[in-house]
């Protein structure tokens, strides 16, 4: 039997160990930097937004990259989570961590409930139509929040405990890692394979017994759940929620992270989310040219994604792999 494929191989274990080491190393570095006060105030203030964007990008990656559906309503699910969580923690009177945990659970679940309700009719649509309808959904959520009283309307919802600042980095980091781990695990499971099969060819997927609608809804709901979690963290990071923070620009910002990350590529989404969150801040010193530089970097990243250069790298890797397989066969 071909041992490159069956079960967990030493190479796969090596990868797991490497990922654990990276996770710990990033955590250690961040803790040293934060505790040592080595960063400017500006930089410390974007640590948590980085984490939030990673969660958003990875959860959207499941939809856009693996399910292959272009949706533009991710900020809508984020806002549902944010408001649900914040309203709940404003009401509760418990230790911050307990409040935050309960708020996140509620935010995630309510976002998923919305995803079921919206997903059932909307996921029948294909391609551009789905993008347009989800865009509309995001905007509707925003204007509803804008006009309701208990959400604070356009003035915003304030008085939210800032439980998720850089001082609570450990807490937030745990949820970032959980999000990445759970979604990456899902992708490498029978459910994830079914979702990817729907993307590659839904007619063939149906013909081999996959209930396409069921798996589309599943991906939609899971993605919304994690967007909701990210929303709750966001609420408790900034302390005040305004509907305007969740407009379609936010959805597109997240989508850009996923696209630049190489679509069905979780690692790429993570890196793109971090770079795109840092970039505007790093370029702040170049004030006037900031947006110009920002766009240049964006275009450069996009070009690299499709470039000969990258293709050449991938090709070389494939060739090496093919050679290894051949050797093994001999």
């Amino acid at each position: 039997m071909n041992k490159t494929s069956a079960g967990k191989t030493p190479a796969k274990y090596g990868k797991i160990v490497l990922n654990i080491l990276i996770t710990l190393a990033v955590y250690a570095v961040m803790m040293v930097v934060i505790q040592g006060g080595m960063l400017s105030r500006q930089m410390t203030s974007i640590i948590i937004p980085c984490c939030i964007n990673v969660m958003l990008a990875v959860s959207l990656c499941l939809l856009v990259g693996y399910l292959g559906e272009l949706t533009l309503g991710h900020a809508g699910f984020m806002s549902i989570g944010a408001y649900a969580g914040a309203l709940l923690t404003n009401y509760l009177d418990m230790p911050p961590v307990a409040e935050l945990l309960i708020g996140m659970l509620a935010g995630g679940i309510i976002a998923s409930v919305f995803a079921v309700v919206i997903g059932l009719p909307v996921l029948r649509l294909k391609g551009d139509y789905l993008a347009i309808v989800t865009l509309g959904f995001g905007e509707i959520i925003r204007s509803v929040i804008n006009s309701l009283e208990f959400t604070g309307g356009a003035k915003g919802l304030s008085g939210i405990g800032t439980y998720a600042t850089y001082k609570n980095f450990t807490f937030v980091y745990i949820f970032v890692i959980l999000t990445i781990l759970l979604i990456a695990n899902l992708v490498h499971s029978r459910h994830g394979r079914a979702i990817t099969a729907v993307r590659d060819n839904y007619i063939a997927a149906e013909a081999i017994g996959i209930h396409v609608g069921r798996f589309k809804t599943m991906a939609f709901v899971i993605s919304a759940f994690f967007a909701g979690l990210a929303g709750v963290i966001y609420a408790h990071n900034v302390g005040i929620l305004k509907p305007a923070n969740f407009d379609y620009n936010k959805s597109i910002e997240i989508l850009v992270m996923v696209v630049l990350g190489g679509m069905g590529n979780i690692k790429g989404s993570i890196i793109a989310a971090i770079i795109l969150t840092l970039l505007p801040e790093v370029l702040r010193s170049a004030a006037d040219y900031r947006m110009l530089l920002y766009s240049i970097v964006l275009i450069a990243m996009m070009l690299f994604n499709n470039s000969r250069f990258k293709l050449a790298i991938v090709e070389k890797r494939n060739l090496k792999k093919a050679a290894e397989i051949q050797k093994e066969g001999e």
Binding site: M1, T4, L182, N185, G192, R193, N201, E206, A207, H211
Partner: protein, 252 residues
């Protein structure tokens, strides 16, 4: 009782009667051909049998179970698997994963186990890997298990489609022009593979094919379609010598 029983099957697209009053029987473990000129309605018949289209008339029974009105995934679960005339693989997935996707009916685990990779995840995945490799090796695809499906040469892609269909453990396998685009050598090899599949997987096979060498070589029984209706049916040798069939193929 025959495995598959089709009676009075029909469908219209607007004014066009693509399949009309089709009657068919396929016995367990048999190898049956469905032939006819281009546009005769063969692929449409497959689409009716697999629930892609719902018939306007007729009855489809598999093992005595009515299939009319069922959706494709349900029909798959009932025991019919198929390949497509224009190959439909999961092109951005590995060869191995293409075969593992349909295995999840028989080797299942919960969503929680998918998220956590705990519980029976390891064990079931390992079983899936082994089963998939076993099926792939029948088609000589095991060496390419880690490649992307889209990187396979054309002939191998056709084989992978058959492997994937078999992974659903069907009672009846429908092959839509399996030899299309193959050279005579590859076709010869495919004929052996199809026979092997029938014997090894204990499955009845109904196949559409234009390559008469393949049809006469492996089919025991033939149905001939022309303009959506049955023109002839019977033992392969008899049907291929039927003047009506020859006329339909050669034209006036």
């Amino acid at each position: 009782m025959a495995l598959l029983e089709v009676k009075g099957l029909g469908i219209s697209f607007g004014g066009l009667r693509a399949v009309d009053d089709l009657n068919m029987e396929v016995d367990r473990d048999s190898l049956v051909g469905l032939i006819g000129p281009n546009g005769a309605g063969k692929t449409t018949a497959f689409n009716l049998l697999t629930g892609v289209y719902e018939p306007t008339d007729g009855i489809i029974n598999l093992d005595g179970v009515n299939l009319v009105g069922k959706k494709p995934p349900e029909i798959c679960e009932a025991g019919i698997a198929r390949t497509f005339q224009n190959i439909r693989l999961f092109s951005q997935m590995s060869v191995l994963d293409n075969v593992k996707v349909p295995l999840h009916h028989h080797l299942s685990y919960s969503l929680a186990e998918s998220f956590l990779h705990l519980g029976s995840y390891r064990k079931k995945e390992k079983e899936m890997d082994e089963r998939a490799m076993e099926i792939l090796s029948v088609f000589d695809l095991d060496k390419q298990a880690d490649q992307l499906a889209s990187n396979l040469p054309y002939g191998k892609q056709r084989k992978l489609e058959i492997a994937r269909a078999l992974a659903t453990e069907p009672k009846l396998l429908l092959l839509d022009e399996p030899a299309a685009g193959m050279n005579p050598h590859e076709t010869e090899e495919l004929m052996n593979t199809i026979r092997l599949v029938r014997d090894r997987f204990k499955v009845a096979i109904l196949l559409i094919e234009h390559d008469m060498k393949l049809v006469s070589g492996i089919c025991e029984y033939l149905y001939v379609l022309n303009f959506g209706t049955e023109l002839a049916s019977g033992k392969t040798g008899d049907v291929l010598n039927d003047p009506r069939v020859i006329k339909a193929y050669l034209g006036e």
